[in-house]
């Protein structure tokens, strides 16, 4: 009898462990997973301009909402998406916080070199994920940089060359020229992403030529790389 009891207990323990293992697998959230009918990033990347696209992605930041539209910087573990003036109610806009997963349907377009999804609609999905900025310093000036368009990236040890307000005074965008190893690069503080009241806007406004900074940006494109600065700090 004792043997039977011991066998039964052992079996219970084994099954319990197996059950636990199985549960763990079921609950593990894979941010790269796509539901049926949704493109992978590779498929999106390969899609022709002007074709309809359906993607699942995670909001990383938004520009200010206006007139039932919102522009979103979104990403998944494989690539990034710029959702230009996506249809969105004001109430839904408040829910598009960093990490929020959304399914987006729209058309792929390119404006001045910036690949984007236009005329998009979206629905909320379960799950969250936020990107860690990829260090793209080594890619500055290289053609390969375009492969990371729209991603959250960082550039380290950049020297400030010039700060220019679009309107000559605070209020609108700030054009920032940063250099690295003797080459100059254009950056932008986009007022609808980080407006005059934001820490980034204020910090950039106080920069002096020669300051050395680390920046985190969304790799926006306008006639070439024109990253939108999202975070800035003195270089470590």
């Amino acid at each position: 009898m004792k043997k039977w009891i011991a066998l039964f207990l052992a079996l219970t323990v084994v099954l319990s462990f197996a059950a636990c293992a199985s549960n763990t697998d079921d609950n593990k959230f894979d941010p790269a997973a796509k539901s049926e009918g949704t493109m992978t990033y590779a498929q999106y990347d390969a899609a022709a301009l002007d074709s309809q696209v359906v993607v699942e992605c995670y909001v990383q930041a938004t520009q200010s909402w206006w007139d039932n539209k919102i522009t979103v910087y979104a990403q998944d573990p494989d690539g990034a998406y710029f959702l230009y003036e996506m249809a969105c109610s004001e109430a839904d806009a408040a829910k598009l916080t960093p990490g929020t997963k959304i399914k987006v349907t729209g058309y792929k377009g390119a404006w001045e070199g910036e690949v984007e999804i236009m005329e998009a609609t979206f629905e909320f999905m379960e799950g969250t994920w936020t990107a860690t900025a990829m260090d793209a310093t080594a890619l500055l000036g290289k053609e390969e940089l375009i492969n990371h368009q729209n991603k959250l990236v960082s550039f380290k040890g950049m020297t400030v060359e010039a700060i220019e307000y679009k309107n000559g005074e605070p209020g609108d965008d700030i054009y920032v020229t940063l250099s690295k190893d003797g080459a100059s690069y254009s950056f932008c503080v986009e007022r609808y992403l980080t407006g005059p009241d934001s820490d980034v806007y204020k910090a950039v406004g106080e920069l002096k030529a020669g300051d050395v900074v680390d920046v985190e940006c969304f790799l926006y494109w306008y006639q070439g790389p024109n990253p939108h600065i999202y975070k800035i700090a003195a270089a470590k």
């Binding site: 002007d50 206006w66 007139d67 058309y107 404006w111 309107n167 000559g168 209020g171 609108d172 006639q223």
Partner: protein, 527 residues
């Protein structure tokens, strides 16, 4: 007897109290004060638009400094915009909170919407005519233009419902900036006047590719032969040139007609060949033109400083610039029809305030923007034309025009030719009727072209059925089936007769109740 009078007074007061509750608080209409009170200080706000051109910002700042020196009791606070649409949106938002600016750069179409709030914008006719503070008035501390020195056509563009609600500030039109080198390389010669057919034919030819997929004309992977910046203007101008319907002065929408359909089918045909695109879909015409990726770039004359390989303002890197000969031409026309091009450019309106002295201070500043130093300073920043004959005929301006092409900065050839194009064609310019909703109709006009262009690029069928559906969609989207497209808070208008009777009856009832109570009280006291 006394009681009777008191009762009547009470009833009247109650009626007034009730009627006063109806509708939003309305601004009193503006009356020109007899004198400008210089013992007081005024701070006025000025919302101004520039074309992302720092020279224009400098002109605004200089104008403010010079004006403040003349009127030390007036301080002008400048807010800068680079987009008319953003100013429009901000004004609409601020109308409802009574926080409009004092003076604002705007379009008459936008003013028509602002006027849906009662007494929001000051009608300027009385101010124009005021002998002391009006145009050329005796009490002005500056040498402004008198009424006869304003270009009449430009001034008339600021009339809405029979009153002037703005003064013109600058005028421009559209020009076609042409890569003449490529036109000739394709075997064509530029005609004296561009026609739509010519542009379509050359653009189709320029869309030819070689076996490697490069465009034959430029050897590049990108070529958008014909790009129109403002598709609103494209539609409006084409309809005006053909004498087709757009809208009338009564605000009747006439755009959904056969001529519009024909134009849209033509656009569709040439999107299919790869000949045509728009700013909204592809980007700035100037950038493509300067990179040798566009042959016909239609944009405002106020964008001339960005056009051409030697342009003083450039948005593309040096390595992308392509050398070519640039020609500034009128927008395409239809043969046998009168030349027509749109008149556009910033106007200035003055917003009404409770303090008429503050409004007068605002008007003085608005009027100062018409003086020669401001007019000439601003006109030289782009392909603009001053709005006063006083400035246009001044020796300084004549000297400026005569030095066309002397340098690639102030006398940049393309910019001066763009200004000259408008000066030569003032009689060929037109504007569209202004009414509450005309701003939406303008957006709708452009949307038709944008939608057709996108649909063709997306391989959708563009046929007559598509056109009918498109017309329905755009009508609904821009609410063109409604009498007016009102923005902000609607005024409720005067009380209906029945409501007045009801409220009067209520007032009388209350008066009788109070009267009865009073009489009862007096009787009790007497006891």
């Amino acid at each position: 007897m006394k009681r009777c009078v008191s009762a009547v007074l009470l009833i009247s007061m109650l009626c007034l109290l009730f009627t006063g509750c109806h509708g939003a608080a309305v601004q009193e209409s503006f009356t020109v004060p007899e004198n400008f009170d210089t013992s007081r200080n005024y701070e006025i706000t000025f919302w101004a638009k520039n074309d992302t051109n720092m020279n224009q910002v400098a002109v605004y700042k200089q104008a403010i400094a010079d004006f403040e020196a003349l009127y030390p009791n007036i301080t002008v606070k400048l807010s800068l915009y680079t987009d008319y649409g953003k100013i429009y949106n901000d004004v609409i938002t601020n109308i409802s909170t009574n926080t409009t600016p004092n003076v604002c750069i705007t379009y008459p179409d936008h003013i028509a919407t602002y006027l849906s709030g009662r007494n929001t914008v000051v009608p300027l006719d009385d101010l124009f005519a005021d002998t002391r503070y009006g145009l050329g008035g005796s009490e002005l501390r500056f040498d402004g233009p008198n009424r006869e020195e304003m270009v009449p056509q430009f001034l008339s563009e600021c009339v809405i419902d029979g009153s002037h609600y703005a003064i013109p500030f600058m005028r421009s039109t559209e020009a076609c900036y042409v890569n003449k080198t490529y036109v000739e390389a394709l075997g064509y010669e530029l005609p004296e006047t561009l026609t739509w057919d010519f542009i379509w034919e050359v653009s189709d030819a320029a869309a030819a590719k070689d076996a490697d997929g490069n465009f034959k004309i430029n050897g590049q992977k990108v070529m958008l032969p014909f790009i129109y910046k403002s598709t609103d203007n494209m539609m409006i101008t084409s309809l005006a040139q053909q004498g087709a319907g757009y809208s009338n002065d009564q605000g009747q929408i006439q755009i959904f007609n056969e001529t519009t359909k024909m134009l849209l089918h033509t656009v569709a045909d040439h999107v299919k060949t790869g000949a045509f695109s728009t700013f909204k879909i592809s980007g700035y015409p100037a950038n493509f033109l300067n990179a040798g990726q566009c042959i016909f770039a239609i944009d405002s004359t106020a964008g001339a400083t960005w056009m051409g390989p030697e342009a003083p303002l450039l948005d593309i890197s040096e390595d992308k610039l392509v050398d070519f000969e640039i020609e500034v031409m009128t927008v395409p026309q239809y043969p046998g029809q009168q030349t027509k091009m749109i008149s556009q450019g910033p106007s200035i309106c003055v917003f009404n305030k409770a303090d008429s002295q503050e409004v007068l201070a605002s008007w003085l500043f608005a009027q100062y923007m018409l003086t020669n130093p401001v007019q000439l300073g601003y006109a030289k920043t782009e392909g603009y034309v001053p709005v006063t004959q006083k400035a246009q005929q001044s020796p300084e301006y004549q000297d400026y025009l005569s030095r066309c092409g002397e340098d690639n900065d102030e006398h940049y050839r393309v910019k001066l030719e763009a200004s000259q194009l408008l000066l030569d064609n003032i009689d060929n310019t037109f504007v569209t009727p202004v009414f509450n909703g005309s701003a939406s109709l303008r957006d709708a006009a452009g949307q038709l072209i944008e939608n057709v262009t996108k649909s063709v690029r997306r391989n959708q069928t563009v046929d007559d059925a598509y056109m009918e559906e498109l017309f329905d969609q755009v009508t609904s989207l821009y609410r063109l089936d409604q009498p007016t497209v009102a923005a902000g808070k609607q005024e409720l208008g005067p009380l209906p007769q029945t409501a007045i009777l009801l409220l009067s009856a209520l007032g009388i009832s209350w008066a009788l109740i109070l009267g009865y109570a009073a009489v009862t009280g007096i009787k009790k006291k007497k006891r």
